[in-house]
């Protein structure tokens, strides 16, 4: 028997490696899946059995609408800014590309807590922005830039931009540069070339990036809690407040279940789009 024939004959019998594979999935079932089932249980049993916690979500429509509004605006701004960065990256020289990557990756490695702190410092009433505007006489009284929805959106946009840049770069890189030349030879001006060639071809990437950003935003906790100062409570902070301040475990659990259901639906929809070919890079 030659060596290759021997290898082929052994390759059919898998190595017994269950003892290697099993621990991690077991840990995840025990430490995450089972407790999640327990949380679902809370949502329909506390304080009394029934669906009242879910029906009560309707009473929270202001909070849900606020979450939707903040996440929608954040997604819009972050994806637009990220598109600008990604498009500049694709058209830049190799050296400039490295510089852009550095600027995008740098904040990526800074803790979300520290970034919220920094924005609190920058945006507060006696912070540098208000100080500058007051000194130049542009305003008489400090602007309220933080401990409101504006501050939350600034912090969240800052957090989300890097996450949107990379999928957009992937898609924009895949667009054949000769299409630009073809459009130009037909007399299209830069703006026309962008609106009629690049933008439509990159739309799948925009949808993908926007979904990722939006899903991330829905569960944001630290940034709204610190930069919102209690005036911009979103879904995640609501869960926290229900568990630790009003000790209304059922309502907190129901909100968490609702959140994960929405996130799962959005991710499934995105997968469906990808399967239909809308999410794949343009050829």
């Amino acid at each position: 028997m030659t060596a290759t024939a021997f290898l082929r004959s052994t390759s059919r019998r898998p190595l017994a490696a269950g003892w290697l594979i099993a621990p991690l999935p077991l840990l995840i079932v025990a430490a995450l899946a089972l407790p999640l089932a327990g949380v679902v249980g809370w949502s329909v049993t506390r304080p009394s059995p029934g669906l009242q916690n879910y029906l009560g979500l309707w009473e929270l429509r202001d909070l849900l609408w606020r979450t939707l509004r903040i996440c929608g605006l954040t997604t819009l701004i972050a994806v637009t800014a990220a598109y600008l960065i990604a498009w500049s990256w694709v058209t830049a020289s190799p050296r400039r590309r490295v510089a852009i990557e550095l600027f995008v990756l740098l904040p990526f490695w800074i803790s979300v807590l520290i970034r919220a702190f920094a924005w609190l410092v920058i945006l507060r009433n006696d912070g540098p922005i208000n100080g500058f505007l007051l000194a130049t006489g542009a305003i008489d009284t400090p602007l309220r830039l933080v401990r409101n929805e504006f501050g939350v959106i600034v912090g969240m946009v800052h957090y989300m931009i890097p996450y949107a840049v990379f999928p957009l770069i992937t898609v924009l890189k895949g667009i054949d540069p000769r299409l630009q030349l073809a459009a130009r030879s037909l007399g299209a001006r830069p703006l026309q070339r962008f609106l009629h060639v690049t933008l439509p071809l990159s739309l799948p990437g925009v949808v993908g990036a926007a979904t990722i950003v939006f899903v991330f935003c829905l569960g944001f906790f630290v940034t709204p809690a610190i930069l919102g100062g209690g005036r911009a409570v979103m879904v995640a902070e609501f869960v926290y407040l229900q568990i630790f301040q009003t000790t209304n475990w059922g309502a907190g659990a129901a909100m968490a279940v609702f959140l994960i259901a929405v996130v799962a639906l959005l991710l499934l929809a995105l997968r469906r789009l990808v399967a239909l070919g809308l999410g794949s890079p343009a050829r």
């Binding site: 898998p14 407790p35 949380v39 803790s111 924005w119």
Partner: protein, 257 residues
Amino acid sequence: MIRRLLLVAVLAFLTLPLLVILPISLTPERYLSFPTDSWSLRHYRSLIENPDWSSALLTSLGIGLVSALLATVLAAAFCIGLWLNPGRRFAAVQALVLLPMLIPGVVTAIALYFGLARLGLIDTLAGTVAAHTLLAVPFAVISVGVALSGLDPKLAQAARSLGARPLRIVLDVVLPLIRPGLVAAFLLSFFISWEEIVVTIFITTSDVVTLPRLIWQELRNNISPAIAAVAVVMTLVTLLALIVRLLLTARGAEARP
């Protein structure tokens, strides 16, 4: 031209928080301010002198190192097990393993709060380490998985045909070959634990205080320049991990023929 200006504005926006933290941490004043005439290290000194900060720093380092070790070992065992069985499909199990990365942090937090409360492990080191390991493990799985994807499964068969038992194959053949992936998994896991905050807020109260947990409390009570100094220290530790990783990958690339 307009596009370039906009790009500069966006990149400046991304960098602004960093530019603010460093000077504030060096202010000689008690309150939040930018140093004007002189700068001082008093807020860094207060980190060492104030037992709250120094113990939080040690707690975070300890929890980070232990969770990173556990996450790396679990991920390596899982990925190597899959790699040894190339013919089989484990898509569902792989999705399950990545779950902690996909679920919103606050949902993981409430689930772990529920689970650890059942076990009486709220506000304990063991509970926090378990939670951080769970959160870091998907990232470790990805790092080790990438390293293994470049390794030919025939190697295992060759070793086996020479009479090596599975444990021997793993220890003597696979582990040495994927060492860069293991290091990457360890450092990434450490980073996840080092800056974890959402789950930690839910599962600790007063006994286990990590650095992010203490920053969170301070941010809600009194915002002092000491937080800026902590932020600089935290960022430096992260940078150190990144540099270690870069050096190791560079050395690994040289060592390879």
